[in-house]
Symmetry: C2
Subunit: 693 residues, 2 copies
């Protein structure tokens, strides 16, 4: 603890107007009832390759007074943005990245961002926009001649941004309006924003910081639209003036409902000329004779490949949901173990985490959190292999399958996370409405996960297209090579032939049975989606219309089920890996797996009741869930303790690890602005009350 902080604490203690607060051992008592667990093994298994980065970054944060959520809560937008730049400057140089290091192991880059996001998504994203979205786009779509820009980016000689979204277009990138017209006379591109809605919008780092950007624009060569291409261009002078360049307008998008530390901005071009080399020309080029050529013939596919740089962003976004859940659950579980309200007919009040209802609200989300993390470790873990494939053959099956997994998992985790944070906020009651709980900030950060890196209900349709294509292939008798689609059954009779048998929770909690149920659900939903699509085709104006009609209740549900299928398998792998290292942990983790998968089944009871389940199955499923929550509740407090970042990183007064929540709340409130002062507007109040001064 810094001397300053210590002094502040002592001072606030001295002037406190509250009665003395005795030590509250509620959290200790609750923890004691849990199983003794090997924290190191849990942390190493859970954080995987990020483990050491986390320790390093948290150490920097702990030693630096720049990291303090309480101070940030009261800061203006402008000051907060400065603060984050300062925070980046404190962390980034100590953990140097460069092209070669990242090429060797891309995970290092994500590992750096991960603990930063634990502190604040805005902090991580402020850097991510630059070293992932900007830098990866140049790396993936550029060629050898752009290497210098990549190096400059890793050295922060340039600060980059990623200008894809426009005011008028987000999800439909193919229809963006910004144009880049090739002028053969000078071998330049002329960038233009022909309409107000073509303004690049929400572009992180553009409001105040970036001097560079990668611009997505419709390329016109020979007066023909060649589809969306990407150009790396300067927008501000890279000198002490920081002036916006002639032909460019940049501004700040203003106040947001969260993530105020990110300076999202807009960009407009007016006949802004950039040299030929601004084109990231790996897939498309214009010859010195002025002829356009591209190795990807299909314009739509080309647009798809242009946004491949979003892969890193989407993985971070998936991680982000898991992180927000981890923070939210740490706060909510600790608070609920301390907070006492009501009790038995006799005796003292009980911690609210004693109540089944409260357990049911939180513990299943802890299981979901493990499911997301496992998926990041396993299905999304070998990103190096994916990036190699992407370089070799961006249209191959493995690349498409990776996109399908990532799209579905990004979306499912964003919905899990948003619902979880809302539950955490609500279910800790009024004290969760205080800024000092941090639940509001974390929920507002989480909120955007559903929107950015692809609006979830649109993005997940990419998964749907992949899956239905595979099934159609299978129907045609072709062999399915996609490694995640071994579940697929083409014959509906075979699907319907499945008759699970369980007459008790014990019989239900069987690995094989559960995996079969998960398979069944996915198969049934996919078949129903396909039928719905066929049915819709008959009364639609075109295939797009039919597709849209098949989304509600069908394709969307099937795609979510695919994401959950992936997560169920990945979490099981996690359980097995950790069991090999530590049996006690393995037993606990197995219960989370059961809770996750049976929870998935419970949310889909309607599907199962169509042919398989009756009322007594429903009862058994719910009994299992409730019993698992009850069995896991004390262990869950220990587990979240092991996985939660230090108090300073969470910054929640009601989620402090020592359980002194009331003490911390009072201390914080007493240190707040103007806590005991009269209102500045007393004269107005007196006037209204008719009191003469």
């Amino acid at each position: 603890m810094s001397t300053m902080r210590r002094l502040n604490l002592i001072e606030s203690h001295l002037v406190s107007r509250f009665p003395t607060i005795p030590y509250d051992d509620s959290l200790d008592e609750f923890r004691k009832k849990g199983t003794e667990i090997n924290i190191d093994i849990l942390q190493q298994s859970y954080f995987g390759p990020f483990y050491t980065w986390i320790k390093d970054v948290f150490k920097i944060m702990n030693e630096n007074p720049l990291f303090n959520h309480f101070e940030e809560a009261e800061m203006s937008r402008e000051i907060l943005r400065k603060r984050i730049v300062h925070q980046i400057a404190t962390i980034y140089p100590k953990l140097k990245l460069n092209y070669d290091i990242v090429k060797q192991d891309y995970m290092k880059k994500l590992g750096l961002l991960y603990p930063m996001a634990d502190y604040d998504i805005a902090l991580a994203v402020r850097l991510l926009v630059h070293i992932v979205l900007y830098t990866d786009t140049i790396t993936n779509l550029g060629t050898e001649k752009h290497r210098d820009l990549v190096n400059r980016a890793y050295n922060i000689q340039d600060y980059g941004s990623f200008a894809m979204t426009e005011l008028g277009h987000g999800s439909n990138v193919a229809k963006i309006e910004t144009t880049a017209t090739y002028d053969h006379a000078t071998r330049e591109f002329i960038l233009n924003s022909p309409t107000a809605t073509s303004a690049k919008w929400w572009i992180g780092a553009v409001g105040k910081t970036a001097n560079m950007t990668v611009i997505f624009a419709q390329l016109y060569a020979d007066n023909i639209n060649r589809g969306v291409h990407v150009f790396v261009v300067p927008i501000r002078r890279n000198d002490a003036s920081h002036d916006t360049l002639p032909g460019v307008v940049v501004g700040d998008c203003g106040k947001k409902l969260g993530l105020e530390g990110i300076d999202n901005g807009f960009i407009l071009f007016k006949n802004y000329r950039v040299p030929y080399d601004a084109l990231l020309d790996k897939f498309s080029q214009i010859t010195t004779e002025g002829k356009f050529k591209s190795s990807i013939k299909n314009k739509d596919k080309r647009a798809g490949i242009m946004i491949a740089g979003l892969v890193g962003g989407r993985i971070c976004c998936t991680c982000g949901s898991e992180q927000d859940m981890r923070l939210g659950l740490a706060i909510a579980l600790r608070f609920s173990a301390v907070r006492k309200q009501f009790g038995g007919q006799e005796g003292p009040e009980l911690p609210i985490l004693t109540y089944p209802l409260q357990r049911l609200k939180f513990i299943p989300y802890l299981a979901k959190m493990f499911a997301i993390r496992s998926c990041v470790i396993y299905s999304l873990g070998d990103i190096n292999a994916f990036l190699r494939k992407l370089e070799e053959d961006p249209e191959c099956l493995e690349v498409n399958e990776f996109h399908a997994i990532l799209s579905s998992v990004k979306c499912v985790s964003s919905w899990y996370g948003t619902a979880c944070l809302q539950e955490c906020r609500e279910s800790v009651g009024g004290l969760g409405y205080s800024s000092y709980s941090q639940l509001g900030r974390i929920r507002n950060n989480q909120d955007v996960m559903v929107t950015w890196e692809g609006d979830s209900s649109v993005l997940i349709q990419q998964t749907g297209k992949f899956l239905l294509k595979q099934i159609q292939k299978s129907f045609k008798g072709q062999k399915i090579h996609a490694k995640t689609m071994t579940f697929l059954k083409t014959d509906i009779h075979e699907i319907n032939a499945f008759k699970p048998h369980f007459e008790s929770s014990q019989e239900l909690e069987n690995e094989t049975l559960i995996l079969d149920l998960i398979d069944y659900r996915l198969n049934l939903l996919l078949h129903q989606s396909l039928l719905k699509l066929q049915e819709s085709t008959a009364n639609s104006v075109d295939m797009v219309d039919a597709w849209n009609k098949s989304q509600p209740f069908y394709v969307q549900e099937a795609c979510k089920a695919y994401g959950e299928y992936i997560m169920a398998h990945d979490l099981l792998r996690f359980v097995k890996d950790i069991t090999a290292k530590d049996e006690t942990l393995g037993r606990i983790m197995k219960k989370y797996w059961l809770l996750y998968t049976i929870g998935v089944i419970e949310k889909s009871l309607v599907v199962f009741m169509e042919h398989l389940f009756n009322a007594s199955h429903v009862k058994i499923v719910r009994e299992s869930i409730m019993r698992l929550c009850n069995e896991l509740v004390e262990d869950s407090v220990r587990v979240i303790d092991a996985l939660a970042p230090p108090d300073l990183v969470i910054g929640s007064v009601i989620g402090v690890s020592d359980g002194q929540i009331y003490k911390k709340m009072i201390e914080t409130v007493e240190k707040s602005k103007r806590v005991y002062e009269k209102p500045e507007w007393l004269p107005l109040l007196l006037e209204i009350k008719g009191i003469k001064k």
Copy 2:
């Protein structure tokens, strides 16, 4: 429009750096497809007794530059609090209330608050705390001698607050720690806050404003705890000094995640002596001989009656959820009718409200909004009769039944509202993340509805106790007089004998059938809850434990079903009443009723599939929902236009009634702080990039 505003607009237009924005007729075009409706009849039916108050208050707001969300978004907590006091001072005196007016028609008070809440929940609540929670508590629990305080309150000679919740106790009011010890020697009460957790907490108006409060405290007389009683006491001098009184500590609870305009504060007492008349002594008194007596013998019941003053608050809270939904849906529907993204294989991009998925996200919430509003009009509408009953016999069946309805409806509407606002935020995509969309502010306001006036998952248990008590009576052969419980079937065989028949959407969309299905669901859930309770009793330490074990999946669900049953009937009454006035409107409203009730059935498919429904019923239910959404979509834009407050009151750039969302967004952003300025922290940025000045 004020001259100032006009000048600002012209100025901003002159300096805009954006391309000219042509008029966007998307919203007009979308509206045109809807049915021509009688706006007056719709407004009068929907707003009922509030209709004229709304017009009056909106007129004041429109004429006064004090009402401007854009300006408020950038204000500090302190300034915002002043602003709201100023706003209250602008509205309240023009619509004078006093004891007699309120006595004659309590709805007038709520009618004043309602349009204020349309502008900002914080504005309404800032006044509500004073004229509902504080004033009603004195009115309901005090006697003739307290009348002067009530008059002073209506004249704002005092500013009051409602000090029930403590740092350590919210839902469990019976266990609050503040004590009021009767001292017969001086015939005074001595108020004390024995612990830090006994600090009154979150008390609206206490942070800066209030000079008075009603304090909930454990009354000790003759050294015996007589349970929770309420005392009206001064906390600050009612003079120009505004000093806190000796023996009292008041402070500000600090930053919140929303509602920053409310100065929530804390109160501590240290041997604070107040005269005997501070006791609100309608139900309990201490005789001049020093003997405690009370007309309500049971201590628990007494505590229940003490919080009867919350009735007005809970009705406002129910209204609040409906209002937040109305604002959110106005923004989301208009935006989605304007925003175009994707389209058919050929042709232009289509409004996103064209897509079934987007329709399914919003239209069912519009139906829910009507259901809440109908319930406020009918089941909760005769509050005057309720207040008379409460005065005559606070323990009678009608009072208990009203509480059961209100508790369930407050909770159900809070969950509807929170989910709806989250959906609105998410489903308008990135532009919804801008502060200028107002969706963040409205959602953060809505968020607290689940928590205040009784944490919803705790409060709804009051309904559960009422319902199960009635069933138990019925089992014993007693006649059930509760007027909302005509659905009740005691014989499970009779319930199970119900065999609905429908083989198409058309057959399903039958009033009698749907009401039977809604009855069936409620009966089945109640029976299952009772069984669960019996089963739990067998393996629980006491009845409280058994009760808690019966909450998840059972009692909670039954109580929600009761609230939805009430709403389904009230909405049907609304449909019939409006049909009598206007058949076109009646036809549209009937569709909302179908959508509401079939939506309720859809969310409960698991219940219906236990014995009644098979896969084809599920399909029919969902087809009906989707078809109704499709049929209602254009009308819904017209309907929300009629019910949405003026643009100034909503303040959303993406929800403007003229549909010029991009224009408004750009104008607003260009007027934001520092939009085109360089960062104040440029030196830091240059340092990081290694650029010398």
